[in-house]
Symmetry: C2
Subunit: 154 residues, 2 copies
């Protein structure tokens, strides 16, 4: 049940970003300069859906330990929600405001918060930590992509 | 329908902040120094519920104009979601991380984003703009309160 609530929460937050992204990706995003390693547009939606499901499973697993490890679980979930809010904010800055520089500054903070969440999740439940590895790798790649797009269009 | 969707979205985002806040307000918040104008704890929940409903009504009204004023509505809603994400983030920084300084820096950005949303909403629909006036006043007060709490406890 806790896993379902967390997966649903992540997908709802992701769908807000999705609306902004879908619109801009077919209009503004096709017109700007992109590096050679920019992936095809169709890849973003399935990748993000998968990542939101994985992070939701991780958060649900951690939440299940609330009775035995109250303080650690609460602290881990605070970082989880901070990274989730920053994740939604990134799409709004990059695709909504079409401001790659502001988005670049923000994604570095996001990456640090995801890493902190990963460390805290990993201590509570190894498997919950593993759920964050694809997410960390993707956002690491997204940071480089965002940096390259800002550089090519500044 | 659009109004209902927006009010529900705001209340769901607000309930995430609510969980973090409710826990900390009865434990950590009672132990720190607060200024004389700090309102009683019971006031926060009804005030925020009211503010989320009002901002949701405003956003729904603006969204209704999507067919006639596509660009302006989209731009106004991007700012609306940025301020909503920053609003959730503030509770996580102040009550979740218990870091009044980080929250203070963030609430100043939040206040600017609320003001920008207010201006954009007001241009599209006067009544939708009015929905933001109590919110602006409350967050203005919250900024002063946040600043005073940081100062008294630093």
């Amino acid at each position: 049940m806790k896993i379902l609530v967390m997966v649903a929460t992540c997908l709802v937050v992701g769908s807000i970003s999705g609306v902004v992204t879908r619109e801009a990706i077919t209009t503004w995003y096709v017109t700007i300069e992109k590096p050679s390693f920019n992936p095809p547009n169709w890849i973003f939606a399935p990748v993000w859906t998968t990542l939101y499901i994985l992070m939701g499973i991780g958060a649900g697993l951690v939440w299940q330990q609330i009775e035995t490890k109250r303080q650690e679980v609460k602290s881990a979930l605070v970082f989880f929600f901070i990274q989730l809010a920053l994740n939604a904010l990134w799409s709004l800055l990059f695709f909504g405001l079409k401001n790659p520089l502001l988005a670049l500054i923000e994604i570095v903070v996001l990456l640090l918060m995801i890493y902190e969440t990963f460390i805290k999740f990993n201590k509570l439940n190894k498997f919950a930590g593993y759920m964050f590895i694809p997410y960390l790798l993707w956002v690491g790649f997204a940071t480089i992509l965002n940096g390259a797009i800002w550089w090519l269009n500044k």
